[in-house]
């Protein structure tokens, strides 16, 4: 309701404004036109009759009075009647004037006197028209009736009176004519107060010529008064509505505090008013400045206390507006200090805006509590909320501890089973340097249309410009400038492709000896491996001494069971079957010795550069002898490893990066066990810092959850990147990984193992440590102790050793580690404790 009434008021103001203007400037002609339409007149006539009938005959009222009442009550007969009854029932006949103004005034002498205005009035022959038209008169009358405003209006009335004479007509008018229609009591506002001219008004003489300005100011005053009274006009007699109306009036003042200031200034001069009667006519223009800058005066100024100099309200006033106390209360609110904006709203008086914490406090507290978790609920505007509601809403404002990211609370394991997801498999491509791993994978992706022709053409062109055209396909995987200029894969490259049965993730490992740590990182994420072997003369042999062997041993010791051996570059040996079989035999012997089971090894001849037998059968007639499966078929037939979906979450961070503007911290890595979903809180070890998963991406597609075996990208929130390092383990906060500074492990030695400094590798994790004790050598098959405290562990022996770490690391029993020293893989180990 408050806003509505406010709106209405605004409308009224507009309406009145027009009126005011016409009043001001057409003062002379005013008497001429009555501005009533025929309809109005008819209504007026009927209304007059009705009122007359309704009124007690004892009440002596003139038609004019009735009509005026009707006019102001908008032809509401009932209201008019009661108004007139009230007004005239105990009729005290004033002999010389029957004008309702005088009568009214007689009843409000008290009020008028209290206002300190004792203006000589002439017996006015105020016409009804005037009363009706001069919009300031009637409202001012009612203003007087509305007792609460007495003193205030008194001051403003004086002002108005000051200003009004500024108009040229008044200036020229004689004193007698000026007061000719002024009633004895209840002096119309524009007639009041010239007596109280202040010196400073005179001081404004320089600007005094600006009568227009003064007129404008006066108009504005008037407008406000009228707006207030107009708003009141529609009042019902209900107490509440009255209160609202009062408050409404307040609001008008709230918008323009200047009257109060002036009133305050005037106050001391109120009493001596009579001493300076001569002054009353002096046209004292108001100081222009305050008027002009009116708007800039903010209600927020410190409230100025005023002396309460008002007289007691009259009987009528009290009846109309409640008991004196009530009124006083309101008046205090009204006058004794500047009103705050919005105090007009009904709820304001009851509202206890400071009962609860302020919105700022709420927000601050919420921020402190939520530690960055934003509040979803906007803090309520205390100005609008009513007391109770506010308190309630404040209560509701408690910010929950839940993070921004809402968890869907999925049962990921179930979801995973339901989803009937395509088989997923990650495979690592291993082999000696320059055996064509990257090129083979580039070819695979190109033939499967994962990479489009255009990109490949572009790469080809680029490769040709630096004279390495054969590297074009490898560049699909090798993207850094370093890798391209040197023609060597440095770091693991990840890519995805899909066949009808399975979704594959390629982990293209570097073959170079120096980058074995990276290869280990890749192999630790893989389900199975593709070992690429160069069929070229000498290449195979050099590879077998080099990384072909080391890689194969590494993937095996990291738990990879299935191996596809791609005998590459068959085109260079003219698809010689003998060569292929020779390689196959040698490799099979070596691999079975490295405890790969023979049935899990597949040999496939292919040519990566030309793409034969990769996705399609070899077209070369020399390759007719081979009828087996192609590389892609072999990949498809691989049974992916089982996933520990229901175990507690373990994810090894293999990359920490900035995922974009919206995702400042992202990590990626393979989920070794368990599952996760958006909104989960995770714990990064060894920093033991919690983080929230904001979003998950698998193969560049946003998803809600991820399970073991997948290599998702997690966008994190609420963690600083310094707490995330490569090789750290992300785990379930309820089942955190323990940090160990020393562990016992069973190792398979590749080299001689002495108590010595070693690098410990676990996925991306790379740490310094040292073998402190050789506990025992063990039987390879049974695991029985063969020799206690051996002096040295020889290659291919199995031993139990104690490794001490430089810093504590998240390692668990059953974790596979690789021990390296001086660029050689010394041993692969399985953590025991």
């Amino acid at each position: 309701m408050p806003p509505k009434s406010g709106h209405q008021r605004a409308k009224n103001v507009d309406y009145e404004e027009e009126d005011v203007y016409s009043d001001e400037y057409d003062e002379g002609e005013e008497q001429g036109g009555d501005g009533m339409t025929d309809e109005d007149r008819e209504q007026m006539r009927i209304g007059t009759i009705n009122v007359r009938e309704a009124l007690d005959p004892s009440v002596k009222v003139t038609d004019a009075q009735i009509q005026e009442a009707l006019w102001h009550y908008y032809y509401d007969v009932g209201k008019s009647v009661s108004y007139l009854k009230n007004k005239f029932a105990p009729s005290q006949p004033k002999p010389e004037s029957q004008s309702k103004k005088q009568k009214a005034a007689s009843r409000f002498d008290q009020a008028a006197n209290a206002a300190g205005t004792k203006v000589p009035t002439t017996p006015g022959k105020q016409t009804l028209k005037q009363a009706q038209k001069s919009t300031c008169n009637a409202p001012s009358l009612r203003e007087m009736v509305g007792a609460p405003r007495q003193s205030m209006s008194a001051s403003s009335i004086r002002l108005r009176a000051l200003h009004t004479p500024c108009s040229a007509d008044y200036m020229s008018a004689k004193a007698t004519t000026f007061f000719w229609d002024t009633p004895w009591g209840n002096v119309p506002r524009h007639r009041l107060g010239p007596i109280t001219v202040e010196p400073r008004y005179l001081g404004g003489g320089l600007l005094g010529g600006s009568s227009k300005l003064a007129a404008l100011a006066a108009k504005r005053k008037q407008k406000q008064e009228e707006a207030a009274s107009a708003a009141k006009a529609g009042d019902t007699k209900a107490e509440t509505d009255k209160a609202v109306a009062l408050l409404d009036k307040l609001s008008v003042k709230g918008k323009d505090p200047t009257p109060f200031i002036r009133g305050g200034v005037c106050e001391p001069q109120r009493r001596p008013v009579q001493r300076y009667p001569a002054r009353k006519r002096s046209p004292s223009p108001p100081p222009a400045e305050p008027e002009v800058e009116e708007a800039s005066l903010e209600p927020a100024q410190p409230a100025i206390e005023f002396l309460d100099l008002r007289a007691k309200p009259s009987m009528f006033a009290s009846t109309l507006c409640g008991t004196e106390d009530q009124v006083r209360k309101r008046q205090k609110l009204e006058v004794s200090s500047f009103p705050l904006p919005y105090t007009t709203f009904q709820g304001y008086s009851e509202a206890k805006p400071f009962a609860g914490p302020s919105p700022d406090d709420i927000v601050l507290r919420a921020q402190a509590r939520g530690a960055g978790h934003g509040t979803k609920a906007k803090p309520a505007h205390h100005k609008k909320a009513t007391g109770e509601k506010l308190a309630d809403s404040v209560e509701k404002l408690t910010v929950e501890e839940t993070p921004k990211v809402k968890s869907k609370n999925l049962n990921v394991v179930e979801e995973f089973e339901k989803s009937g997801m395509k088989r997923m498999a990650n495979f690592v491509v291993i082999g000696h340097v320059d055996h064509g791993k990257s090129t083979l994978m580039g070819r695979l992706l190109y033939d499967l249309k994962v990479i489009d022709q255009r990109s490949v053409d572009k790469l080809r062109k680029e490769a040709e410009t630096i004279g390495k055209s054969s590297f074009a396909l490898a560049w699909v995987m090798d993207q850094t400038s370093e890798e391209r200029s040197r023609g060597v894969t440095v770091d693991i490259a990840t890519n995805h492709f899909e066949t009808e049965k399975t979704r594959f993730t390629i982990l293209d490992a570097p073959g170079h000896k120096d980058f074995i740590p990276n290869m280990i990182a890749g192999a630790s994420q893989a389900d199975f491996a593709v070992l690429v072997i160069d069929a070229g003369t000498n290449s195979f042999e050099s590879g077998l001494k080099g990384q072909t062997k080391e890689h194969a041993l590494l993937v095996r010791s990291m738990g990879v069971q299935r191996l596809i051996v791609a005998v590459n570059k068959m085109d260079t040996v003219s698809w010689s079957q003998e060569r292929f079989e020779e390689i196959s035999q040698q490799m099979a012997a070596f691999l079975t010795a490295a405890s790969f089971s023979a049935k899990s090894i597949t040999f496939i001849p292919c040519a990566g550069l030309t793409g034969e037998n990769v996705t399609r059968k070899a077209a070369d007639p020399q390759a007719d002898w081979y009828t087996g499966e192609t590389l892609i078929e072999a990949l498809d037939s691989s049974e992916p490893a089982k996933r520990n979906v229901s175990k507690p979450l373990r994810l090894t961070i293999s990359d920490v990066f900035r995922g974009g503007i919206t995702n400042p911290i992202s990590i990626s890595g393979r989920i070794d066990a368990g599952s996760l979903q958006v909104g989960d809180t995770i714990l990064a070890m060894p920093s033991a810092e919690p983080a929230t998963i904001k979003a998950i991406e698998v193969e560049n597609e946003p998803v809600d959850w991820a399970v073991a075996g997948q290599i998702p990208v997690l966008h994190l929130a609420d963690i600083d990147p310094v707490h995330l390092r490569l090789g750290d383990i992300v785990c379930d906060p309820k089942n955190p990984v323990k940090l160990v500074g020393e562990f016992t492990c069973k190792i398979l030695a590749f080299e001689h193992v002495l108590p010595m400094a070693v690098d410990v590798f676990r996925g991306r994790l790379q740490a310094e440590g040292k073998v402190t004790r050789l506990v025992a050598t063990l039987n390879k098959a049974s695991g029985e102790v063969v020799k206690k405290h051996p002096r040295i562990v020889k290659p291919a022996e199995v031993a139990r050793v104690v490794v001490q770490l430089e810093r504590e690391l998240p390692l668990e029993a059953g974790t596979r580690v690789v021990l390296r020293e001086g660029g050689n893989t010394v041993a692969a180990g399985l953590l025991e404790s």
């Binding site: 993207q479 850094t480 400038s481 370093e482 890798e483 040197r486 440095v490 770091d491 693991i492 490259a493 990840t494 890519n495 120096d514 980058f515 740590p517 010791s557 405890s595 089971s597 293999s654 990359d655 920490v656 990066f657 900035r658 560049n700 995330l724 390092r725 490569l726 069973k746 398979l748 001689h752 002495l754 108590p755 010595m756 400094a757 690098d759 790379q766 310094e768 040292k770 402190t772 063990l778 039987n779 390879k780 098959a781 049974s782 695991g783 102790v785 063969v786 020799k787 206690k788 405290h789 002096r791 040295i792 199995v798 390296r820 001086g822 660029g823 050689n824 692969a828 180990g829 399985l830």
Partner: protein
């Protein structure tokens, strides 16, 4: 270290030596020399409180010469500070006998050391070594990998890790190559600025005419890239001291980004050819020789206190190639008997057997490798088997072919 005065009786080793440490390295020597029960006299500042007749207590800091009987020593490797704690051994006006005091040895402030149980051969050797005035080799090395760099100062007797730089470098990923390149750029700039702070080129240029060689070592191409970066940066910023340094930068290959791979770097012929024959390089070479023999497993290389002692007893560490390698950590033993044990062993090898004794610095990588082997190892002149006590079990040759391994 300058030997200002010494009065050491050759026969029983009694006497004292007055020493003046001149460089940070000397503190390390002092640390190795000063043993518990030794008497150390040095300038000290001590707060003395006096109670006047009226009972008021006035405390005052005064500088005085104090002699303490050492109870413990504390050496801070990073800052090269040595704190020697002990009890006052000679009373004076202010300090009572037996009250505790910790002497902070400082550079360019002399101290007098008197051995509690005489100067033994090892102590005398150390003293001699400490006072060698020949030019000391010094080398800065940066062992690095992608996103990790260890800045070390290698001196004659110690390898000091001055700073470890770790910058997260995003790995290469599809469409995110920028991240990797930017990360490397940031890593290089951080490493370079850190390195320059430690090298303090502007000061060095004035004080010393020699430029300290800088060794960059890494697996892969990181070191080369870093050198290229340094060159670019020096040219771009026309950093004259840095430009002057460039010719003395060596790039080497290491197998990893960790400090212990330095041993391998320094042992490589390419580096040893360029560097003077430092003690470090000699020690490293010796350790490598030992490791090779160990791998051959023919009983000519043994490690561990008991085994080595047995071998010495049997006269295997003698003339004609017998080498005893012992870490100086053993001589710093707080237990006097323990120290005596090792001194005796050294004396025996050197004087009785005629073998070679190498005291390896526990602060060098070679010393650390030795530490892993029990701080003492020996290369024997003839093979000895089964020096270790447990000879109960015989190697079990039965290995199930094709069976799943336990690992």
């Amino acid at each position: 270290m300058r030997l200002l005065k010494s009065q050491i009786d050759q026969k029983n080793g009694s006497g004292f030596a007055t020493l003046l440490p001149e460089e940070p390295e000397d503190m390390w020597h002092a640390y190795n020399l000063i043993q518990p029960t030794d008497l150390l006299r040095a300038r000290a500042i001590r707060r003395v409180s006096k109670t006047s007749d009226s009972g008021s207590v006035a405390s005052q800091r005064i500088a005085l010469d104090l002699t303490i009987a050492v109870t413990s020593t504390d050496f801070d490797i990073g800052s090269g500070q040595l704190h020697v704690a002990g009890r006052v051994a000679s009373e004076n006006e202010w300090v009572k006998l037996g009250s505790h005091h910790t002497l902070d040895l400082e550079l360019n402030r002399k101290f007098t050391l008197e051995k509690g149980d005489g100067w033994d051969s090892v102590a005398l050797e150390m003293l001699r070594e400490a006072c060698e005035t020949e030019r000391r080799a010094e080398l800065w090395a940066v062992v690095m990998g992608e996103g990790i760099a260890n800045i070390c100062l290698i001196t004659e007797h110690q390898t000091i890790l001055r700073q470890r730089v770790e910058v997260p470098v995003p790995r290469k990923r599809k469409g995110g190559i920028d991240g990797h390149d930017k990360g490397m750029e940031k890593f290089f700039s951080t490493t370079l600025s850190t390195l320059l702070r430690h090298l303090d080129l502007s000061n060095k240029g004035i004080n010393q005419d020699k430029t300290v060689p800088l060794l960059l070592a890494s697996p892969g191409f990181v070191a080369q890239s870093f050198l290229a970066y340094i060159k670019d940066e020096a040219t771009r910023a026309t950093n004259k001291p840095l430009l002057a340094l460039i010719p003395s930068i060596l790039v080497a290959h290491s197998s990893g980004p960790h400090v212990h791979t330095l041993s391998e770097v320094l042992a490589s012929p390419a580096i040893t050819a360029k560097l003077s024959d430092t003690k470090y390089a000699r020690e490293t070479a010796l350790m490598d020789k030992f490791m090779t023999l160990m791998r051959q497993d023919d009983g000519r290389a043994w490690y561990g206190p008991k085994e080595v002692e047995k071998a010495v007893e049997k006269g295997a560490v003698g003339r004609g190639g017998g080498v005893l390698m012992i870490s100086n950590a053993l001589f710093r033993a707080q237990n006097v008997a323990e120290r005596k044990r090792w001194v005796t062993l050294v004396d025996r090898v050197r004087e009785v057997e005629g073998g070679e004794v190498r005291v390896l610095s526990s602060l060098h990588e070679s010393g650390k490798r030795l530490e892993g082997l029990g701080n003492v190892a020996a290369i024997l002149t003839f093979p000895l088997e089964d020096l270790d006590e447990e000879e109960d079990e015989v190697e079990n040759g039965a290995e199930g072919d094709g069976e799943e391994m336990v690992i």
